[in-house]
């Protein structure tokens, strides 16, 4: 009995620091609409800074708690610096660009932490006076963990008071609804935003610092906690602090008991919970539906066929690619082949994200799903390559139909998070079902058929499939199918009122995107000769997402430009020691310089240059 009580209490103490991080994330998202990928990094910094301060001071109670307090404040200040020097410049850019900026920040902080604190895991100091354990019906429970349990309710109460009983809180809640109106009522929202970011980062820092005696500090903390924090915020309902509290307890307890009964489930358990909650309650446990319809302030660009000059440039580039084997070596063929197939994967995400209006954080499920489908077909039933390449998109499409059926019932960030959850579930299936998929060891020896084994032939095959896929997707956008997709995105209300089954159409669009991502994955596996679970993981999904954002979702050229830049950078940087730092900095510079995406930027310039009537595409309010 005592064992179960201790297990339960351990779950609560885990929930405590998770709640602190999630509450901060929720606050920041509520006010600024930033999906702050770097929030976990603040948590990690909280732990490291507390470690350094406490280690530098004599081992007393005052210095321990003082160290935690100082570290918390320090992280809050770092949050302020980030807000003022980076995010503040980007508030006018689309929300997804802020996501990209914070992701770049995550990369930068990761390498900076490695540089400053070293690559080894650090074991946290004990809290003086709380080193011992308490005997609960025969089972020992660390005293410090018991103390930790109190942190979450205290912070919850504090936040509740702050948000409902102070002027600052009322302003924050008003800002989550209508920032422009708030400014017109005389509130300087710049400082409101900074203060919210300060509080949010501070909470993350505190979460990291107080768990130091329990979990120590390491370089994987940021990624581990950010995933959990997102799950908690989404399960609880975006912007609902009590919801986050409830969700943190659920996730904490699941972790605590899940380890006991289903140890292999730990990786996927919380995503499974999120998927179930979102399917039953589309806005989380205590969340409210977002009032997106009716605000009607977003004006999308009218899609027109590219001007003649741009088409000529496209043809020119295609010509160069076709002639590449004449003057390029094997290295160039592989690099450009990879760019081509990655462009197709990005294009498929753009297809559902831009014109389809459905952002996916888990597109690697289809890319990797296609790759695994091809690998398994070859590995188990010796399917010839051409047949495998034909079946691959069908398998990925089927997977997308299944996942999409759940996802299209949601919208916005909730939809994105559900795709992430499903991708993570797929990943863990592949990762843990090693008897069938090879698990972490992957599947090896998937080489192209004999006729295509020549590097030049395979390059042409890759080019044919990728360019063909991209052109097919482009064609779809101009057919009634593509128009209906945009209709569903522009106004659900109107689409429904003219007889369109919006959910079903979005479901099909989702599947189409899956088909083409799977196709790209299929060629990918033959080009590499092997496949590993990494190709389905969250970082892979983000590679695709970031490339699309980098190029910009304003035009069809965006994803191609973005993926070319991405693969090229990856190729050039991945062998360097601090490549994350460099990549992160490049991203930050790009985001600051081209807030509409690189492709979008050049697209607009291009039209100006050739005197195209692009003034129609400017967002203009009525009167």
């Amino acid at each position: 009995m005592g064992f179960y009580i201790v297990q339960f209490l351990t779950g609560l103490s885990d929930a405590s620091s998770l709640f602190l991080v999630a509450a901060g994330l929720s606050l920041i998202f509520g006010v600024s609409r930033i999906v702050n990928m770097a929030h976990g990094s603040f948590y990690m910094l909280g732990a490291y800074i507390a470690y350094v301060i406490i280690a530098a001071l004599p081992h007393t109670g005052i210095s321990f708690w003082g160290g935690i307090l100082l570290a918390t404040l320090a992280v809050g200040v770092i949050g302020i610096i980030v807000e003022i020097f980076l995010l503040r410049r980007l508030y006018r850019a689309p929300e997804l660009f802020l996501l990209m900026a914070t992701f770049a920040l995550l990369l930068v902080i990761q390498d900076l932490a490695r540089w400053a604190f070293g690559p080894e895991d650090l074991i946290g100091p004990m809290a003086p006076g709380l080193e011992g354990s308490i005997n609960i019906l025969g089972t020992l429970m660390p005293t410090y963990d018991l103390v930790l349990i109190i942190a979450a309710p205290v912070v919850l109460l504090f936040l509740w008071f702050l948000l409902t009983r102070t002027r600052w809180g009322i302003l924050v809640r008003a800002a989550t609804e209508d920032r422009e109106m708030l400014a017109a009522l005389g509130v300087n929202q710049k400082w409101l935003f900074t203060s919210v970011f300060f509080l949010g980062s501070l909470l993350a820092g505190l979460g990291g610092a107080i768990q130091l005696p329990k979990g120590g500090a390491d370089l994987l903390m940021d990624m581990n906690v950010i995933a959990a924090a997102f799950v908690i915020v989404v399960v609880g309902g975006m912007g609902s602090i009590p919801g986050a509290f409830l969700a943190a307890i659920i996730i904490g307890e699941l972790g605590s008991f899940g380890v006991l009964y289903l140890p292999q489930s730990t990786l996927v358990m919380m995503f499974l919970v999120m998927a179930v909650v979102l399917v039953i309650r589309p806005y989380g446990l205590l969340g409210k539906p977002e009032l997106e319809e009716g605000s009607g302030e977003s004006f999308e660009t009218v899609m027109r066929p590219a001007p003649k000059q741009l088409r000529l440039i496209g043809l020119g580039i295609l010509g160069v690619l076709i002639l590449l084997p004449v003057f390029g070596g094997k290295y160039q063929l592989v690099l450009f082949g990879e760019i081509a197939l990655f462009s197709l994967a990005c294009m498929s995400l753009y297809f559902m994200m831009g014109p389809g209006g459905m952002v996916s954080f888990g597109h690697a499920a289809f890319f990797g799903g296609g790759a695994y489908a091809a690998a398994l077909l070859v590995h188990y039933v010796r399917t010839p390559m051409s047949l495998a390449l034909l079946l691959t998109p069908l398998c990925a499409g089927l997977l997308a139909l299944i996942i999409g059926w759940f996802c299209v019932r949601l919208s916005g960030v909730y939809l994105a998070m559900l795709t992430l959850a499903f991708a993570q579930i797929c990943w863990s299936i592949v990762f843990q079902w090693s008897a069938f998929t090879g698990g972490d060891d992957g599947i090896l020896g998937i080489w192209p058929a004999h006729w295509a084994s020549n590097a030049v032939v395979f390059y042409y095959l890759t080019l044919l499939i990728s360019v063909g896929g991209i052109l097919l997707l482009r064609h779809l956008l101009f057919t009634p199918f593509g128009y209906t997709m945009r209709a569903c995105r522009d106004s659900r209300l109107r689409a429904d009122a003219i007889g369109i089954n919006v959910t079903r159409h979005q479901w099909f669009s989702f599947a189409v995107a899956g088909v083409f991502a799977g196709l790209a994955g299929g060629i990918y596996v033959f080009s590499k000769g092997s496949i590993f679970p990494d190709e389905m993981s969250i970082p892979r999904s983000f590679d695709i997402l970031l490339s699309v954002l980098l190029g910009g979702i304003e035009s069809i050229t965006g994803p191609i430009v973005g993926s070319s830049i991405f693969i090229w950078l990856e190729d050039k940087l991945s062998n360097l020691d601090f490549w994350r730092l460099i990549l992160g900095c490049i991203f930050i510079v790009l985001v600051l310089a081209f807030p509409q995406g690189v492709g979008g930027f050049f697209g607009t310039r291009f039209s100006h240059f050739f005197g195209e009537a692009s003034n129609d595409s400017n967002p203009i309010g009525k009167d």
Binding site: D178, A183, L185, N188, K622
Partner: protein
């Protein structure tokens, strides 16, 4: 001559001089000018899309004009962010009311609250409820749970909490039942008596006639008729307001 010029400027609370505003590349306001006397009620009339809302937004700093000058109480406010313009004593009530639906009525009022202004009796919730008695009975209701008419009253009340000297109202009578429009008109006349200046954009001619002193007709981004409201004849209406 110069002295009279100065005197004249002093009794203007607001002067807009030849502003040019854009939405993206669309040129909406072309050298639009107008002046408002302290304590007066003026109306911008005009068809849809002629730039009435843009004029109000330009004054409020929500849209920033590329050229021209805007003087409020003798001070140039062009290019200031809206929160600073509000702090100087300009209050804005937008077209679609934009109530904070998740906040209670009292909290909505709190958002608008600003320090008192010298020479003006400060607005408090109690004083607000005298002007809009309806709101008093629903103090703790959420902004999203009250009717359109009540939202319009609340939107004005919220702006009043900032103790403005000049209130800008964008089509306040739009979408309201005639009986509510009556109440609105009474409230505006009451405010005028308290010394608050009011500038509104309207499409409802009868409503404008019943409360305003001064009229500006806007057409193609310019003021093309600038006169006392009693001089707004049928012919003028026919000329500028007809389609």
């Amino acid at each position: 001559m110069e002295i009279t010029q100065d005197k004249k400027e002093n009794h203007y609370i607001l002067e807009v001089r030849a502003i040019n505003s854009f939405y993206g590349k669309a040129h909406i306001l072309h050298d639009l000018s107008l002046e408002m006397e302290k304590g007066s009620v003026a109306v911008l009339l005009g068809r849809n899309g002629v730039g009435k809302s843009t004029t109000l937004k330009s004054i409020m700093g929500i849209v920033i004009p590329k050229r021209g000058e805007i003087i409020f109480k003798g001070r140039s406010i062009l290019g200031l962010p809206s929160y600073k313009i509000c702090a100087l004593g300009l209050g804005y009530v937008p077209e679609d009311r934009r109530i904070f639906t998740g906040l209670t009525i009292m909290e909505n009022l709190e958002v608008g609250r600003r320090p008192p202004r010298k020479g003006f009796e400060p607005w408090t919730p109690d004083r607000i409820f005298k002007l809009f008695p309806n709101l008093k009975n629903m103090k703790n209701r959420l902004g999203g749970q009250i009717s359109g008419g009540e939202q319009q009253m609340l939107s004005i009340a919220r702006t009043l909490m900032g103790n403005p000297e000049l209130i800008i109202l964008d089509e306040p009578s739009e979408g309201l039942a005639p009986v509510i429009v009556d109440q609105l008109g009474e409230a505006i006349i009451e405010l005028k008596k308290e010394g608050v200046s009011i500038l509104l954009a309207e499409q409802n001619l009868n409503f404008a006639r019943s409360i305003c002193d001064k009229v500006f007709i806007v057409d193609h981004g310019r003021v093309c008729f600038d006169n006392a409201i009693c001089n707004l004849t049928e012919e003028v209406c026919e000329q500028y307001l007809a389609v």
